[in-house]
């Protein structure tokens, strides 16, 4: 019975983490669902009927589905050809383009929304002014505050999900499958059509669904771009109801939130089923370097298109906020004398602003530290043990990560404001719990991937030499997977730092985060301070990513 204590410590740790996860992830969601269906003590749909009989809510649902579909289709149409051009042809500068397109994923979407409002608002948008000047127009050609404008910004900032999914699948696909078509007589385009496209179909659908879910769950972009034009979506309706502050508002919000959750989680479930189907897996030998299709006379055209897209999607919005942050007076034109660091002074010297930044950094760090420890246990459990139910914690974490932020926030409000014991409402802890529920999944994935590379024999050797399980973790396992743990830390820290959707519902008088502050500034039409803060966020996120890149040697990035 010498090794009984080892099993005990393992079991306790595992039981604890399962309990914590159940309490903070599953319990609030169950309460949310319960609240949405139970009216005056009886289970029924009256709540849903009431909510959806209001035209504005029904319209929001329709808008959400329509917009998400539009954004999904546009994203796939844009990113599949680009993934192919970058992964399979002799397109010049393709590594740079890949970095830019993948990297655009790290720009907080609301910063992108702010930038596009600056460029395409109908009254003074930079690009609208430019087009008016070039083409001698009397009125602005574009109005960002429209369904089209909203779809445009959503597409630019959520299509990286599709790009990343599709280009990863393309990298993993055995290139000789395509080469076999070439020797069989098929031209590069015919090969693309007959072999690449069908084989990539599951990943294309998966990437598209990710975009659909992300666009449908987005709050920042619809709030900044849609609301001024009176375009409401599910998330903005939920926020409006919660802001009403009364029980009725919350109850209406629960019905909308549960609808959104069913759509998003249902689609994700479908997607993982689709990707796990074995039909399309093939034996692939030593991977050869893929033959790069020669674009020939289309090389310059393809380059211009991809470069143009990268410019519009990434460089232009960043340029816009950076430029705006240095404009002395918005009412004057873009003359050289009107640029300076003047707008930065009030921001940097403002205690309120600086406190928000500090707060967000602190919350991000706390969430990242707690989340990393939990992630290591969860990942270890699911990859390295064979206990029954070992993948349950992992599943719970995935459930949290796949639930729309707005839904998580609402569930936390209902559950943790004292009605069920714990009351952390308007403290920093409710924010941190929210960040953990949403972002732990990325870090669990990263740690699990690296743990699965550590051979079990290393661990057994330590156990055989008499080390306890906890000691083995500390001395053998943790050091071996350290880079992935650090990566996992950043993967929680960075999105938590600039989080808006949950923070906007969960913050209290003393816990206003930088995301919320920025959103307020934008809604007060204080575009200059908003730009300065945006630039500060971008710099911090960029720095975080550079560190992450260094640590993982480019294997993981947000």
């Amino acid at each position: 019975m010498k090794h009984l204590p080892r099993i005990d410590s393992k079991f306790i740790v595992i039981a604890l983490s399962v309990l914590v996860l159940l309490y903070f992830i599953v319990f609030p969601m169950l309460i949310l669902i319960y609240d949405s269906f139970v009216v005056d003590g009886a289970i029924n749909f009256s709540n849903y009927k009431a909510v959806y009989s209001q035209n504005v809510n029904w319209k929001a649902l329709v808008n959400t589905v329509e917009l998400s579909l539009l954004v999904m289709i546009a994203s796939v149409i844009i990113t599949f050809p680009m993934a192919w051009l970058i992964g399979r042809t002799d397109l010049p500068w393709k590594r740079t383009f890949r970095t830019i397109l993948v990297g655009s994923y790290m720009i907080p979407p609301y910063v992108g929304a702010i930038a596009w409002v600056q460029m395409l608002n109908p009254s003074v948008g930079y690009l609208n002014e430019l087009f008016k000047f070039i083409f001698h127009l009397s009125a602005a050609p574009f109005n960002i505050y429209s369904i089209g404008g909203l779809a445009w910004v959503l597409t630019l900032f959520y299509s990286p999900f599709a790009f990343i999914t599709i280009s990863r699948a393309m990298e993993k696909m055995d290139p000789t499958l395509e080469e076999a078509a070439r020797v069989a007589g098929a031209s590069p385009l015919r090969t693309l059509w007959d072999v690449t496209l069908p084989l990539m179909a599951p990943s294309i659908v998966a990437g598209g669904l990710l975009v659909f879910i992300a666009a449908g769950s987005a709050f920042g972009i619809p709030a900044i771009v849609g609301m001024p034009g009176n375009i409401e979506v599910m998330t903005t309706r939920i926020v409006t109801f919660v802001y009403m502050g009364d029980d009725k508002g919350i109850r209406d919000a629960t019905a909308l939130a549960v609808s959104l959750m069913i759509i998003a989680n249902g689609l994700l479930f479908f997607m993982s089923w689709l990707l796990s189907r074995k039909d399309y897996t093939t034996i692939s030998g030593k991977s050869t370097r893929p033959n790069m299709v020669e674009l020939g006379k289309f090389k310059h055209l393809a380059f211009a298109i991809v470069a143009g897209y990268a410019f519009v999607a990434v460089i232009l919005p960043i340029g816009s906020v950076v430029m705006t942050s240095f404009i002395k007076s918005m009412s004057k034109g873009l003359e050289l004398t009107n640029f300076g660091i003047d707008p930065w002074i009030p921001v940097i010297t403002s205690a309120q602003y600086m406190e928000s930044i500090g707060r967000s950094l602190v919350y991000g760090v706390i969430a990242a530290c707690i989340g990393t420890v939990l992630s290591v246990f969860v990942a270890y459990l699911s990859v390295k043990t064979n206990i029954t139910g070992r993948s349950l914690p992992d599943l719970l974490v995935v459930l949290g990560g796949s639930t729309p932020s707005i839904v998580i926030a609402l569930a936390l409000i209902i559950t943790f404001s004292g009605n069920y014991g714990l009351n952390i409402y308007s403290t920093m802890w409710i924010l941190i719990v929210g960040y953990l529920v949403k972002y732990m999944t990325m870090s669990v994935r990263t740690v699990a991937a690296s743990l699965s590379q550590v051979h079990i024999s290393l661990e057994e050797a330590a156990l055989n030499s008499g080390a306890s399980w906890l000691r083995t973790c500390k001395d053998i396992i943790i050091p071996l997977v350290m880079p992935s743990i650090v990566a996992g830390w950043f993967l929680i820290f960075m999105p938590s730092f600039y989080e808006l959707t949950m923070s906007n519902l969960l913050y209290g008088a003393d816990t206003k985060t930088i995301g919320v502050l920025l959103y307020e500034l934008q809604t007060y039409a204080d575009t200059q301070n908003a730009s300065v803060l945006s630039v500060i966020i971008l710099v911090i996120v960029l720095a975080g990513n550079l560190i992450l890149n260094k640590i993982t040697k480019g294997a993981v990035s947000i």
């Binding site: 000789t176 076999a180 070439r182 031209s187 039909d279 093939t282 034996i283």
Partner: protein
């Protein structure tokens, strides 16, 4: 007339020369193997013939058609080269049935349906997959998938078949039977083949001629028998079969085993320091007499033969393989005599 002609072909990847000054003429219906250790440039050469890489320098002709000539920029893409190719990873399309896979090249050529069906069924029968047309590749074993790949490569009657280590993902038994199957098919169809492998017995059994490569450079081109018995240099002798290398010095028309009076005919007219090479199976062991004396060091019983190590002097351990001899004939530590047959001489460096 030469079916494939590769003239002064170079391939450089940045500073790395993957293939240097490659010259080869492959005759119509000939089976030629490219053999060499991993990384020596075999795949790169094959991919240049297929059209997946451009030559950095040099010219490749298939049949009458120049497909790649760096001087005038001629380059014919793979789909216009009229070749069949079989890949190491099978590369059978998982979203198509066996029949559809094999049918694909004919579809591209717009062969009409009736003709297509006949040809596909015919070639599937030939690779013993006649009954498997409706299956999907994930319902087939590795060996069957490789036969699908072979059928697909052959169905359109290409003028040239390229194979890149097609058997290396199969288990040992299957590999051996597939060798004979591919050979037989090639003879039957009379097709020209360039076959890449790092497995010398594969190359020896199947090829009309072997091209031995090392570090991107052709070491020797010849029939299997000539490559084995008259290797052009130490590298080839070492790579093909087993060999003992011993230091020697040339004096006149004899090459002397260093530090001894034992000598061999200097038939290549070498000078100075040389390497004396002799294959383990060309050495005779005896208890009573031979040209070199040594001590039995180790014996390994291999069933059909015994693999001996004999210590000669302080520095040399010579490997001797004797077929069908009793394991107990020689004892460890016993003095033995060696006789060398078919000795080969190479320049030393």
């Amino acid at each position: 007339m030469s079916q494939v002609s590769i003239e002064h072909v170079y391939k450089r990847f940045g500073k790395v020369t993957a293939v240097g000054d490659f010259n080869l003429q492959v005759a119509d219906g000939e089976f030629v193997s490219l053999l060499g250790p991993s990384g020596c440039g075999k795949t790169t050469t094959l991919r240049m013939v297929a059209g997946f890489e451009r030559t950095t320098e040099g010219k490749i002709t298939i049949g009458e058609k120049v497909v790649n000539n760096h001087e005038d920029g001629t380059f014919v893409p793979p789909e216009k080269r009229d070749i069949g190719m079989v890949f190491q990873s099978y590369a059978v399309w998982p979203h198509m049935t066996v029949f559809q896979n094999v049918e694909y090249p004919l579809k591209i050529q717009k062969v009409d349906k009736a003709e297509r069906d006949k040809k596909v069924q015919n070639i599937l029968d030939m690779v013993h997959l006649g009954e498997y047309g409706e299956r999907y590749p994930n319902q087939l074993s590795g060996g069957q998938q490789q036969r699908v790949a072979l059928a697909r490569a052959l169905v359109a009657n290409p003028s040239l078949l390229l194979l890149d280590e097609p058997l290396s993902n199969l288990d040992a038994k299957l590999r051996e039977s597939m060798r004979f199957e591919i050979s037989a098919l090639q003879k039957r169809l009379g097709i020209t083949v360039i076959y890449v492998t790092h497995d010398q017995s594969e190359a020896m059994t199947m090829s009309d001629r072997i091209v031995v490569m090392s570090a991107g450079v052709v070491q020797q081109i010849g029939k299997p028998y000539d490559i084995y018995t008259k290797p052009a240099n130490k590298m080839v002798a070492d790579f093909i079969g087993l060999v003992n290398f011993l230091p020697g010095v040339v004096k006149g028309d004899r090459a002397f085993l260093e530090g001894t009076e034992v000598s061999f005919a200097n038939d290549k007219n070498l000078t100075g320091n040389v390497t004396i090479a002799v294959r383990p199976e060309n050495i005779k062991l005896s208890k009573t007499g031979g040209i070199v004396q040594g001590t039995m060091k180790h014996r390994f019983y291999l069933g059909d033969s015994v693999d001996y190590r004999v210590q000669v002097g302080d520095k040399h351990v010579i490997r001797v393989i004797i077929k069908g001899i009793q394991y107990g004939t020689f004892a460890d530590g016993e003095p033995v005599y060696l006789d060398f047959d078919k000795v080969m001489l190479f320049n030393r460096e």
